[in-house]
């Protein structure tokens, strides 16, 4: 505000000057009065931001923050409604599982009748249907249990099995600026809908190539962008690697920035970088970090001691598998692509052909689109693939199709390393004291075996192949893993017809049945195939989806045949599934509570913010009104004094 605080001349005062000063003062007072009046009536202290720039800047920041908090409130309110709907959907699940469990316990002993069992079966089927409906519940257009595929139902019934079509991803929203919280719970976490992966023991060990991204190194942890210093003991060169995308870029940058006067060769090997100086120049090649960086160490080329002219062989940088990783770069290029593999899930067998595949993605696509209700993905460590079943109630087997594809990929379900205790859904292999089974050769010889000392499938195979009486090539029986489908396979080249190749039960032991060599309930194996030369046992290492649907479906199935062992196994699983559902509900409840706490805290925060904003921008009414009164008095004084002064003139006295 232009204040008329200008100096008064000390020599003389002219009339015009006095008049103009009076006008200026009046103007100033009136403008001030108007400004104060505007402040009072609008309640705002700042009419334009430049009235008080620092308060205006603070005020703007506060206003912006308040606007964002408004959106946070909407986020919390909306998602609270989804969480409550999810909780409400699950209230009936636990009681359903508990009553199913109770009914199952009622007929789990040998005194129940078929009619009673049939009654429980009907109840179980009803429960399965109800659970599927619950799992497919919609709220505000969202399928609550589908994970992030929330626009499609989570479950459907397929041939008496339950297939899960959602995923395990969580939907998120912002509960505060920059802070996320999960707003749903997926079907797998609640019901158990996807199996554990087929446990592979193969590290696919992808080879490093020029175009491997730095972000995929160190198992996917990547490399921090930074600089390295390369020296030949005389001169140094600092190389900035922050613009590099691939390991090939790093090699190119190193070669392009040698210490002055030298030539550096950097090559990308299948495991890391190899760097050397030109031999003729001598010196001692060292590579060090710049400042507090870690680029050299993470690239595996940190070498402070020096290697003379080299070569400096960098450490293995452990690249991660990516969808676009080429199959030719895996397991040293020994992958069998021609044979394919077999996936059996829920009584159907699918042959997966990867002969035309170039990349891992092609393999994953082939498996995922085979119709086998499995999900194949790159594993967490980034060195292999996981195949998991989505079909509850079904058994998943992955086996060869005449070659080694499944084993090469590390996804064969029944392998030599498989532990005998894990077979048959963890029921293991039951042995008795003494011999458990015998193998009858075509030449009539019978080999006896005591299975109590076997730990793994390989032990069984080795025992058969190394049996002391089985060493003559013309007559011997060779045990191996089945070439196509199946479990343990016995083959012989003997053409004798003295006896048929068979496996025989001994001492009432179930070991051979548990190993898949003899059909369940029989005492002798099925007739051999291939003109009597091949006896293929069953794959007894299936993968199942552990969860509520799986337990209910298997329970219903087990009641048909009154398979007591299976019934007691799945009943335990049903109980665990119930615990799982309750855990999920507890998690939901905890989340709802924390959202509620956040909502309350947000309200308090908003009040504080509004208070701070008001302090910056709003007018202090008491102050403004008292200023207004003072200014009014000043105006009045000005007018009065002006009137008095302007009347004094010499003319009155002449």
């Amino acid at each position: 505000m232009t204040s008329p605080l200008t100096g008064i001349p000390t020599t003389r005062v002219s009339n015009l000057y006095a008049q103009q000063r009076l006008l200026a003062q009046l103007n100033f007072d009136q403008i001030e009065l108007f400004r104060l009046q505007t402040q009072i009536s609008t309640g705002q202290r700042l009419l334009v931001p430049s009235d008080d720039p620092s308060a205006a800047t603070r005020g703007q920041a506060l206003q912006s923050l308040l606007e964002r908090k408004d959106q946070i409130k909407v986020n919390l309110d909306t998602n609270q409604s989804f969480l409550s709907a999810t909780d409400a959907a699950l209230t009936s699940v636990s009681s359903l599982l508990t009553s199913s469990y109770g009914s199952a316990l009622g007929v789990v002993d040998t005194t129940s009748t078929q009619a009673q069992r049939d009654g429980v079966r009907a109840e179980l089927n009803q429960a399965i249907q109800q659970l599927v409906d619950t799992g497919n519940q919609e709220f505000r257009e969202r399928f609550l249990f589908s994970g992030t595929r929330s626009d499609a139902p989570a479950f459907d019934l397929v041939n008496g099995y339950v297939r899960y079509n959602g995923n395990e991803e969580r939907l998120v929203s912002f509960s505060d600026i920059g802070v996320l919280f999960e707003t749903n719970i997926d079907g797998n976490a609640v019901f158990g809908a996807i199996s554990e992966p087929v446990r592979g023991t193969v590290d696919l060990n992808p080879a490093l190539t020029d175009s491997t991204r730095l972000a995929d190194l160190r198992g996917g942890r990547g490399v921090e962008p930074g600089s390295i210093v390369i020296s030949d003991a005389t001169n140094t060169s600092t190389i900035d690697l922050s613009g590099a995308e691939t390991i090939g870029d790093v090699a190119a940058l190193i070669e392009a920035n040698p210490p002055s006067g030298r030539t550096v060769t950097a090559t990308v090997t299948s495991t890391g970088l190899t760097i050397s100086l030109d031999a003729g120049g001598g010196g001692n090649l060292t590579i060090d970090e710049v400042g507090a960086g870690h680029a050299a160490e993470q690239l595996g080329i940190l070498e402070t001691g020096g290697v003379l002219t080299g070569p400096l062989v960098g450490e293995d940088v452990d690249p991660r598998i990516r969808e676009t990783t080429e199959l030719a770069n895996l397991v040293g290029g020994t992958l069998d692509q021609t044979s394919g593999l077999q996936i059996t899930n829920g009584d159907e067998t699918f042959v997966v052909d990867i002969s035309t595949a170039d990349t891992i993605e092609d393999v994953l696509n082939a498996i995922n689109s085979a119709g086998a209700s499995v999900t194949a993905q790159i594993n967490e460590a980034g060195n292999g693939i996981d195949v998991r079943s989505r079909l509850s109630g079904a058994d998943l087997y992955i086996s060869e199709n005449g070659g080694t594809t499944a084993s090469d990929l590390g996804i064969r379900s029944f392998v030599g390393e498989s532990d005998l205790d894990d077979l048959n859904h963890g029921l293991g292999v039951h042995t008795v004291t003494g011999t458990d089974f015998a193998i009858r050769r075509r030449d009539g010889a019978v080999l006896e075996f005591d299975a109590s000392s076997f730990d793994t499938v390989q032990d069984v195979i080795d025992a058969i192949n190394n049996h002391v009486d089985n060493q003559v090539p013309a007559t011997q029986v060779t045990a191996q893993l089945a070439a196509s489908g199946g479990g343990i396979e016995l083959v012989t080249t003997d053409t004798a017809t003295v006896a048929t190749l068979a496996v025989l039960k001994r001492n009432g032991s179930e070991a051979a049945e548990d190993l898949g060599l003899i059909p369940v309930g029989a005492s002798e194996s099925d007739p051999p195939t291939g003109g009597g030369s091949t006896l293929t046992g069953r794959d007894v290492n299936p993968i199942e989806v552990e969860g509520a649907f799986n337990a209910l479906i298997r329970l219903e199935r087990a009641l048909v045949t009154n398979d007591l062992r299976e019934i007691s196994r799945v009943t335990a699983q049903l109980d665990e599934a119930n615990v799982g559902v309750n855990l999920a509900r507890a998690e939901l409840g905890a989340r709802q509570q924390s959202v509620e706490a956040l909502q309350l805290r947000l309200e308090d925060e908003k009040v504080e913010l509004r208070t701070a904003l008001s302090t910056q921008l709003d007018v202090d009414l008491a102050e403004a009104i008292s200023n207004f009164t003072a200014r009014q008095a000043a105006l009045q004084a000005t007018l009065q004094s002006a009137a008095t002064i302007s009347q004094l003139t010499l003319l009155d006295f002449l």
Partner: protein, 564 residues
């Protein structure tokens, strides 16, 4: 000395007093005339005469009528009024800019920005609802419209200032003509007058013209012995005793708007205006408003490009079956970071996803964008070839030099993981279009189908990972802005205007106060005080009376003499 001589001396006295009264009357008449310089009569004793051995005076002589003016003060006053006009114009411009920005109100850009990011948060809350995606696109349109409107309004303000500059040139010419004419008239007048009088009236008017001119431009005015005033600006003369130079306006364009330059007609040289209203107008147009437009443009460009970088690495609820880029590529065989794109890509890679609509199976292809400056960098032709190498995709260039992609029947495509920024640089799978405040908008594909909003990061319709990044984008540190976020860029833009406005206001106030204090000193010297004049009037009146009485006395003596 005879009696007749005495009478004549008394007569001179009467004349002198009458002249004095005339001057008093002139001052009284002009007591309220602004800019009037009061006049004073200079009395001198008339030259003495020797009579025998006594020296007798011959009465009073009017030496002249002069203006009471402090020339030094006038110079300072002119200088300060130039400064005051300069800072006032700049203050007005800043106030206008502040008003257009409208911060602290409810319709400002920061509210618009927050509303846009809030709408993307809503997509996170209900990703299955496509109406909400549509709302996000519409909110984006509101934001870009607001930015464009602000830029237009500032550009209009700039045009207004330009128009004022043009009319100022005419004013300057008019004033220099007036001053030149007055110079000649005053020189003629004063040179033909043997007294030391000032050519009052003419001088007053010339002074007014000089003051008016000083408000417009910063001049130095030096009075010559002939009475003419030489006016120069920054050492170049503009008016002198014999000539004056005219100014003319030459129009060019700058930042897409017409701008006027003021030049001397005959030499074409530009007078360097450092103060005055015209200097203030130039500063407003070429620094204040132009720099604001530049900053708004760079803010819009950063917002568009960086947001697009995140958006173009994501996928929507469905893929594209055909897509044309936004930006033209002129140099197809130069490395992509030297091919003339407004936003430069950098060394990195991107992925192209092709999905079969029937089977839902996706195939991913890596494309490496090599721009490290070593060996062969990727050119547009290389990129086109790489795209054509993807199964099911055909890439070509349109007739207006833009890239276009098409998928085979039954397929759709999208992109992922672009670390090079090339997709944003070409305008593929982007959200915003345009690269400046006046061109920023939303891609038509998204307006037509909001399901293309790239919320997903793991595949078409898979998740909401990309939407998380987009919703939090306001706080994201941007490499291209040295780690500042869009939020802090905007905050800097608006707070620098606020600060500058506050500074301009206080400078303008300071200049005003200084000018007023100089003016009050001027009034002290040159202003008319009625009491002063009345006192003089009384003394002239008494002197007249006394002289008249003296004449009467001499007359009696003559009477006695004649009647001997």
């Amino acid at each position: 000395m005879s009696l007749f001589g005495s009478i004549r001396m008394a007569n001179n006295t009467l004349q002198a007093q009458q002249i004095g009264l005339q001057v008093v009357g002139q001052n009284i008449a002009n007591v309220n005339t602004p800019g009037y310089i009061r006049e004073e009569v200079i009395f001198e004793p008339a030259p003495a005469q020797r009579q025998g051995n006594i020296i007798l005076g011959l009465g009073v002589r009017v030496a002249g009528v002069v203006q009471k003016i402090d020339k030094f003060l006038e110079d300072r006053l002119r200088g300060s009024s130039s400064d005051a006009a300069n800072s006032d114009v700049q203050q007005q411009t800043y106030l206008e800019l502040e008003r257009l920005l409208g911060e602290l109100g409810e319709n400002d850009l920061s509210t618009s920005l927050n509303a846009f990011f809030s709408s993307i948060s809503e997509v996170l809350n209900q990703p299955e609802n496509s109406a909400i995606r549509n709302l996000a696109v519409l909110q984006g349109q509101t934001l870009t419209d607001d930015i464009g409107r602000l830029a237009e309004q500032v550009a209009t303000a700039r045009n207004d200032v330009n128009d004022q500059i043009i009319s100022s040139a005419d004013d300057i010419n008019r004033l220099t003509k007036e001053i030149f004419d007055f110079n000649r008239q005053i020189a003629i007048f004063e040179s033909s007058d043997i007294s030391e009088s000032d050519a009052v009236g003419l001088r007053d008017q010339r002074n007014q013209a000089i003051i008016e001119l000083a408000e417009l431009i910063d001049i130095q005015a030096v009075e010559q012995p002939s009475g003419a005033v030489n006016i120069s600006i920054n050492g170049e003369f503009i008016v002198n005793e014999v000539a004056r130079r005219e100014l003319t306006v030459v129009e060019t364009t700058d930042r897409g708007q017409p701008v006027a330059e003021i030049q001397f007609v005959e030499t074409g040289s530009v007078p360097g205006f450092t103060s005055g209203r015209v200097a203030g107008l130039f500063t407003s147009r070429d620094e204040v408003l132009a720099e604001f437009l530049d900053e708004l443009d760079s803010f819009s460009a950063a917002l568009a490009f960086e947001f697009n970088r995140v958006h173009s690495s994501g996928q929507g609820l469905l893929g594209y079956q055909e897509l044309t880029g936004e930006f033209r590529i002129e140099e197809t065989d130069e490395p992509l970071d030297a091919a003339g794109l407004s936003f430069a890509p950098e060394n990195g890679s991107l992925q192209v996803l092709v999905r079969n609509l029937d089977t839902g199976v996706t195939e991913t292809t890596d494309i490496f964008i090599d721009l490290d400056g070593l060996d062969t960098d990727t050119t547009y032709d290389d990129f086109l070839a790489a795209l054509n190498g993807v199964d099911g995709l055909t890439a070509s260039t349109t007739s207006d030099a833009r890239i276009t992609l098409a998928a085979d029947a039954g397929l759709e495509f999208s992109f992922a993981n672009d670390t090079s920024g090339l997709l944003a640089a070409l305008g593929l799978n982007t959200f915003f279009e345009g690269d400046s405040a006046r061109t920023i908008g939303i891609r038509q594909e998204l307006i037509d189908d909001a399901r293309l909003l790239a919320a997903s990061g793991g595949g078409i319709g898979e998740d909401t990972d990309n939407a998380v990044l987009l919703a939090d984008f306001a706080n994201r540190e941007l490499d291209s802005a040295n780690g500042s976020s869009v939020d802090s860029l905007y905050r800097n833009l608006s707070s620098s205007v606020t600060q500058a406005t506050a500074v301009a206001r206080s400078i303008a106030e300071g200049d005003q106060v200084f000018m007023q204090s100089l003016e009050s000193q001027r009034f002290a010297t040159s202003g008319v005080n009625l009491d002063d004049e009345i006192v003089r009037m009384i003394s002239y009146q008494r002197a007249y009376q006394a002289a008249a009485r003296y004449i009467a006395e001499i007359n009696e003596l003559l009477e006695i003499l004649v009647s001997i």
